[in-house]
């Protein structure tokens, strides 16, 4: 079998909003041949050892090329979080919908919009940015995204531009009669000294079956600051693939929180490259997986330059027959002295049927570094449960309180407060429904 099995994801399409850009067509053509040349990932490959793509292939997804125009602002009211004041960008099935978005007033030096929209007004704006961070040599799903992209979120901040309000990307998916795959490409580019906060929320309308194969390329220039909070809370039938590519300039700071709650099958690949010294990268994550759910995280943090700091702290709660994979790799090159890296993955298993495969790896080739990694897989302490129950708290609530306590370290990083509360509620609700065995 070859990656060509996924050719259906690429067309034919009824329309192509990005046609006519030569530079893009060249990249897409190269990506198409990469898709054809690559094999289907198998569990014999290290990166896919614990995750089979069989379920994904069986769905027979075709491109989500029908624009969803029927949605009115009232339809998305319940997904909005009161108290979160943001530059709001709404994508439905991968397409930017200006009618639902509310960009508000943007300070000078800031451009935010849909990929098609930006390219229509400035065809060369993204010439160097598409694949600029992800690179041209791509693995299967990134290549599929490059070949199949037709829209996405674009955030461009000029040198020194500062956004005080967060940008909120709401990515909504609606199921169609035939299962669809949307392949949005998001470009976030902060020039030197620019600062922004991005909230990314992946949500479904109804219990839809679909796939989102997104790629986000983030570059933060010298001394830039990006706070990035990503919440995946999709339908129990959703397939979700994310490639997150980061390039961090000298003295820049990136703080990312990745919360995965929903979906049937979700794969996240996060690749971090430092483009200058004294950069800091903080990756926090929380995942909850129950029956018929697989959440798979791969982190690849490459310290090629000296004096950079990275933190990888992921926590997982597994219940029912839920499954998760954590594969974190921190590489420190020979010349990357004074690297400071700490990776941690802790898991709570609430049932015998739940499973997590965790594989933190540290590869250190420099001698003057501070690096650590640790992983735990445990259950709720009977002592703790008894303590709560002895105070009149019933067993299900006691379990929920302890799980939320475990997750609290990550949830507490989320801001603003209404977002933290919404996500904590969603975590609580999922735990409430969790079977106890």
């Amino acid at each position: 079998m070859s990656g060509g099995e996924f050719d259906r994801w690429l067309g034919p399409r009824s329309e192509d909003g990005l046609a006519g850009l030569d530079w893009l067509e060249t990249k897409r053509a190269a990506a198409r041949s990469q898709v054809r040349d690559q094999g289907i990932p198998t569990t014999k490959q290290e990166a896919w050892r614990y995750t089979s793509v069989k379920r994904l292939m069986e769905q027979g997804f075709v491109p989500a090329d029908e624009p969803i125009t029927a949605l009115e602002p009232e339809d998305i009211e319940e997904v909005l979080i009161p108290g979160v004041v943001s530059h709001r960008v709404v994508l439905v099935n991968g397409r930017f919908l200006p009618g639902l978005s509310e960009l508000g007033e943007l300070p000078p030096g800031v451009r935010i919009g849909g990929l098609q929209q930006i390219l229509k007004s400035d065809p060369d704006a993204l010439r160097d940015r598409v694949n600029g961070v992800a690179g041209d040599d791509q693995s299967l799903f990134a290549a599929l995204n490059t070949a199949g992209m037709d829209d996405g979120l674009v955030i461009l901040l000029d040198r020194g531009a500062v956004l005080t309000q967060p940008v909120e990307l709401i990515h909504l998916s609606v199921g169609m009669d035939e299962p669809r795959v949307a392949q949005p490409r998001h470009i976030v580019s902060l020039d030197d000294g620019a600062q922004a906060t991005l909230i990314e929320r992946y949500l479904s309308l109804g219990e839809s079956l679909y796939c989102t194969n997104s790629v986000m390329e983030i570059s933060v220039g010298r001394d830039g600051v990006l706070k990035h909070q990503r919440i995946q809370d999709e339908s129990p039938y959703a397939f979700h693939i994310t490639g997150l590519y980061l390039s961090l300039g000298q003295g820049s700071r990136y703080a990312g929180v990745n919360v995965g709650l929903g979906g049937a099958w979700a794969r996240t690949d996060c690749r971090v490259r430092f483009a200058g010294e004294h950069a800091e990268c903080d990756l926090q994550g929380l995942y909850l997986a129950g029956d018929r759910q697989l959440l798979d995280y791969h982190l690849d943090v490459d310290h090629r330059l000296p004096q950079c700091t990275s933190r990888e702290n992921f926590k997982g709660i597994l219940y029912g027959k839920g499954r998760a994979v954590f594969d974190g790799r921190v590489y420190v090159a020979k010349d990357a002295q004074k690297t400071d890296a700490a990776m941690s993955n802790r898991n709570l298993l609430l049932s015998d049927g739940a499973e997590v495969d965790t594989k933190p790896q540290l590869e250190i080739n420099a001698d003057d570094v501070k690096c650590s990694h640790g992983t735990t897989v445990g259950q709720l302490e009977p002592e703790m449960l008894f303590y709560l129950r002895s105070r009149g708290i019933n067993a299900p609530l006691a379990r929920r309180m302890l799980c939320l306590g475990f997750a609290g370290e990550i949830l507490d990083v989320l801001e603003p407060e209404p977002l933290r509360e919404r996500v904590a509620d969603q975590v609580g609700q999922r735990l409430e429904q969790a079977p106890l065995a």
């Binding site: 703790m384 303590y387 002895s390 105070r391 009149g392 019933n394 309180m401 302890l402 997750a407």
Partner: protein, 251 residues
Amino acid sequence: MLSVKGLKANVGDKEILKGLDLEIGPGEVHAIMGPNGSGKSTFAHVLSGREGYEVTEGSVIFEGRDLLELEPEERAHLGLFLAFQYPVELPGVNNTYFLKAALNSIRKSRGETELDAISFLRLMKEKLKVLHLDDSLLKRPVNFGFSGGEKKRNEIFQMALLEPKLAILDETDSGLDIDALRIVADGVNALRSPERSMIVVTHYQRLLDYIQPDYVHVLARGRIIRSGGKDLALELEKRGYGWITGEEEAA
């Protein structure tokens, strides 16, 4: 209020309680003393419903109900409270949130309305005042990183808030210096009332200088072998347990 008859209990294959009898009336404070390994803590745990103890014989009736049939939370709903010898740390669980969840669980079980955030805070303040405590423990995770004294104070604060009918204080004096002991004992004394009974489990007479019991029982080898007034505690202090257990006790 509490009637224990012929209680036998095992931990694993080992019989720890070997026929324990105890009657407690409303408002009474009973001290249970005894050498190490006599079954004092086992008794406290069996009453509170902790796992790992098997009751093989006997009965425990509390407020007219068969206590041994109930889940730990149901015992708490009936008005039973165990102040732990080693209070459990709950990282990430905020103390105020925990106290509110506990109080509202108990109120709900009794068909009372749950307290909203404001009424709850008001009640907490009131209770802090009664016990002469400050609110610094309330913002932290339950017992997490607390000193020994702070943990015990937190237990007594929970007791004040949950207003049990029967409180079991399991070696509340262990690990406390004399100042911390006094604070905890003052708290307990402030909570004494004609409706509230207490079982004070302790190895040393010291605690009973501060919390004066109505009755003192000596537990040895899984049975109560002697009962008396508070003078019995003083005598034990003077003469050691060997005097009644017939064994030499290592000091």
